[in-house]
């Protein structure tokens, strides 16, 4: 199949590309990028006034399958990804069962092979059953195609075990993704500790529970001389710790999620559990520090932390509701609205955060428009507005923090592995 994209603004900092060009996709690859391509294409897309960029690589996604297919499946989650302009996702291992053995990873691979609509990369758990007690066999899981390990949802409390995991991961060239949270300091909290938790009469989570664990894991990464990736940064102190570590030459990278740079703890007033996330939404000052970290390069990546939950688990008493929000379908638009429209990042800057850097951190061969590469790319109307509504979301769960918000930026086309994967051809 040949797809010709005409007159779009092509952006890919990896090959120093930012300008009006045509692009030709042939046999799953990008075959030509130049002015005025003439080709006999099966499909021609007129992309005047649109952005053409590599498909996004979302390195923090909960697809929930196997085990919680009522929340999301590989099929529904990857469709949500495509609609949001994401062509590769890193699937987190906190499924039922957890991805902690060869058998379980094979089970997952089989479902992916049969049902995935986009590229699904596999993260295994650091410890068996994510219990923080016994390490998984990284070598074996790596042979099965695992690219990263994480006990996401929890942190490995045992320091020695974590150090060993970092050393093993380095040996086998697998990325360690850390969910940094010291349970002992969590206080069973459900919102940020401060005036808002006091006003709402809810238990608060201190920022300390996040940044003291980040500090520990950075120290361990330094000791092990191993790469370390910190998930979902939410507060100022965490940004400062990452900046300091990077300056020191420690191999640490970090991501944040759109809700941490666009929302604050005040969104929780009214007890909307779609504002309940872990770590919690923080203060204005923290959100501003997160934006600063994105602008100055301290924070490498934006990832959705897509965490689907059913209405029964969300639309209940706040303190009993599950943590997490969906984000695949809104990540790009929130980033455009909050980062590009405000002038904080330019387009090449955003493409780095959502494509280039995550691909680099994961060590995958994806996320570029360079000739010869896999044709994963998206065509975006950057100024087109849309209203986030439950009805429009294709994820199986509707727990978005942005329901009712008007956002800028609409994905018109998603091309995944050389085929037009979105708009969906039929409603399956």
């Amino acid at each position: 199949m040949k797809i010709l994209i005409k007159n779009g603004r092509l952006i890919d900092p990896a090959c120093n590309l930012d300008g009006l060009r045509d692009l030709l996709v042939e046999n799953g690859k990008i075959s030509q990028v130049s002015n005025n391509i003439k080709a006999d294409a099966d499909k021609t897309i007129e992309a005047k006034a649109m952005i053409v960029m590599p498909g996004m690589v979302d390195m923090h996604v909960h697809l929930r399958e196997p085990g919680r297919e009522d929340k999301e499946t590989i099929a529904s989650g990857t469709r949500a990804a495509l609609k949001g302009g994401v062509t590769s996702v890193l699937a987190m291992p906190n499924t039922l069962p957890a991805i902690d053995s060869v058998d379980n990873i094979r089970l997952l691979k089989d479902i992916i092979k049969k049902t995935a609509h986009a590229n699904v990369l596999i993260a295994g758990s650091i410890t068996k059953g994510r219990q923080g007690k016994e390490l998984t066999d990284i070598a074996q899981l790596k042979d099965e195609g695992m690219v990263a390990i994480s006990d996401d949802g929890s942190s490995v409390d045992n320091k020695e075990l974590m150090l060993k995991a970092l050393k093993d991961a380095k040996k086998h060239r697998v990325l360690v993704v850390c969910h940094c949270e010291d349970k002992a300091l969590m206080n069973k909290g459900v919102v940020n500790l401060g005036i808002i938790s006091t006003r709402l009469g809810l238990r608060g989570v201190s920022k300390e529970s996040e940044y003291t664990r980040i500090k520990r894991d950075i120290e361990l990464a330094e000791k092990a001389d191993s790469p370390l990736h910190i998930a979902h940064l939410s507060c100022k102190e965490s940004v400062e710790l990452i900046a300091k570590a990077k300056k020191k030459g420690i191999k640490v990278t970090a991501e944040t999620a759109p809700h941490y740079f666009s929302l604050t703890e005040e969104a929780v007033l009214g007890y909307d559990a779609n504002m309940k996330v872990n770590p919690p939404l923080r203060t204005k000052e923290d959100a501003s520090a997160i934006r600063g970290g994105l602008a100055d390069g301290t924070i490498d990546a934006i990832a959705s932390d897509h965490a689907p939950h059913t209405e029964n688990e969300k639309d209940i008493e706040f303190e009993r509701a599950e943590f997490g929000v969906i984000g695949l379908e809104t990540m790009l638009a929130v980033s455009i609205t909050e980062l590009i429209q405000t002038g904080l990042l330019d387009w090449p800057g955003l493409v780095k955060k959502v494509v280039l850097n995550p691909a680099k951190i994961l060590g995958i061969n994806k996320g570029t428009l360079c000739v010869g590469s896999d044709a994963d790319l998206i065509v975006v109307s950057p100024d087109k507005e849309w209203l986030v509504q439950k009805d429009g979301l294709v994820s199986k769960s509707k727990n978005s923090a942005f329901l009712g918000r008007r956002l800028k930026g609409v994905v018109e086309y998603t091309i995944c592995n050389g085929r037009i994967a979105y708009p969906f051809i039929n409603h399956t």
């Binding site: 206080n187 500790l193 401060g194 005036i195 938790s197 006091t198 006003r199 709402l200 009469g201 809810l202 608060g204 009214g270 007890y271 029964n312 639309d315 209940i316 008493e317 706040f318 303190e319 009993r320």
Partner: protein
């Protein structure tokens, strides 16, 4: 001004004028309870459901009496006897009550925000009778009503709230109500029982009981629930009595006419000595009487607002 809310979820949301309207409405309802026939037909034909997820006698009975004096029919649902035990969700329970064509749900729940969640899912009125540590608006309203009755005004008064502020919905509602009406509020407790950043709610914080009492026109003494110390942050009972309890000796150093309030039930000899509880400064039983008038006012106002909304919809 007119009351337009179908719900009463907390005092934080209310304007000064709205709070004053409840208080004036309560004044006019107060005399109903002194009549030979203690009943007015204001809510005749309406059904009030007391949905209580926490054991409560005094608030539940107060709402029941208030509703009955307004001629409403009252149904009491307690978790022990309902399908809640079978795992029914709050929202489902609320919708079922709505399907019974009830008009007002009075909810008491141990989760902060439960009344707000319920109100999003039912069209009938919701009155918060205490949600977790969050708010207990009718308690604060009856405290304020009593205080106003005793001292003639609220604006400019110094009011101290003493006790477990951190876990107290009574404290939070009182802080919102009193500060909106222009009182100066001091909270007093051991450090572990003062919630983070509470001074941003516009109150003064002290850990010294004599300091809290020295210029106070009124003191609201919270019940110390030693049996519920889940987080293990309470001081020892004797230590608390020594350092924070309201005793005659301490009152001697306070203003002579200081008004002593307590939301009940009192732990005699824990947060307050028996002499003070039964003494000349105590208005504890008057609070109970006023609770009826305030709750009548709230039930009446939300029902009226709901009727107006409904008429509007019918016209549309």
């Amino acid at each position: 001004m007119a009351w337009t809310r179908k719900d009463l979820l907390g005092l934080e949301d209310l304007s000064r004028e709205e709070i004053e309207l409840i208080l004036t409405t309560a004044e006019s309802f107060k005399q109903v309870s002194t009549r030979e026939i203690k009943k007015v037909p204001a809510l005749r034909g309406k059904t009030v459901v007391n949905l209580f997820y926490e054991p409560s006698t005094r608030t539940r009975v107060s709402f029941e009496v208030a509703a009955k004096r307004l001629s409403a029919d009252v149904i009491n649902i307690a978790t022990e006897t309902s399908s809640v035990k079978k795992g029914e969700t709050l929202v489902d329970t609320g919708r079922n009550i709505e399907a019974l064509k009830a008009d007002i749900i009075v909810i008491r729940h141990n989760a902060s925000g439960a009344a707000a969640v319920l109100s999003r899912h039912v069209n009938i009125s919701v009155v918060n009778a205490g949600d977790g540590w969050h708010e207990h608006p009718t308690q604060a309203l009856l405290d304020i009503f009593t205080l106003k009755e005793k001292l003639g005004k609220i604006s400019g008064l110094n009011v101290s709230i003493v006790g477990d502020i951190a876990h107290s919905r009574v404290a939070r509602s009182n802080i919102w109500g009193l500060t909106k009406l222009g009182a100066k509020v001091t909270v007093c407790a051991p450090k572990m029982l003062i919630p983070v950043a509470i001074e941003q709610m516009g109150v003064r914080v002290t850990e010294n009981i004599d300091d809290a009492l020295s210029c106070a026109d009124a003191v609201n003494v919270l019940r110390m629930q030693f049996e519920r110390d889940e987080e293990n942050v309470f001081p020892k009972q004797l230590e608390y009595f020594k350092n924070f309890a309201i005793t005659e000796e301490r009152l001697k150093k306070a203003k002579k006419n200081i008004v002593v309030m307590h939301p009940g039930p009192i732990n005699r000899g824990v947060e307050m000595s028996s002499e003070v509880a039964d003494g000349a400064n105590s208005v504890i039983l008057e609070q109970v009487t006023n609770g009826i008038a305030v709750r009548m006012a709230v039930l009446f106002l939300v029902a009226q607002a709901k009727d107006k909304l409904k008429n509007h919809e019918d016209i549309d």
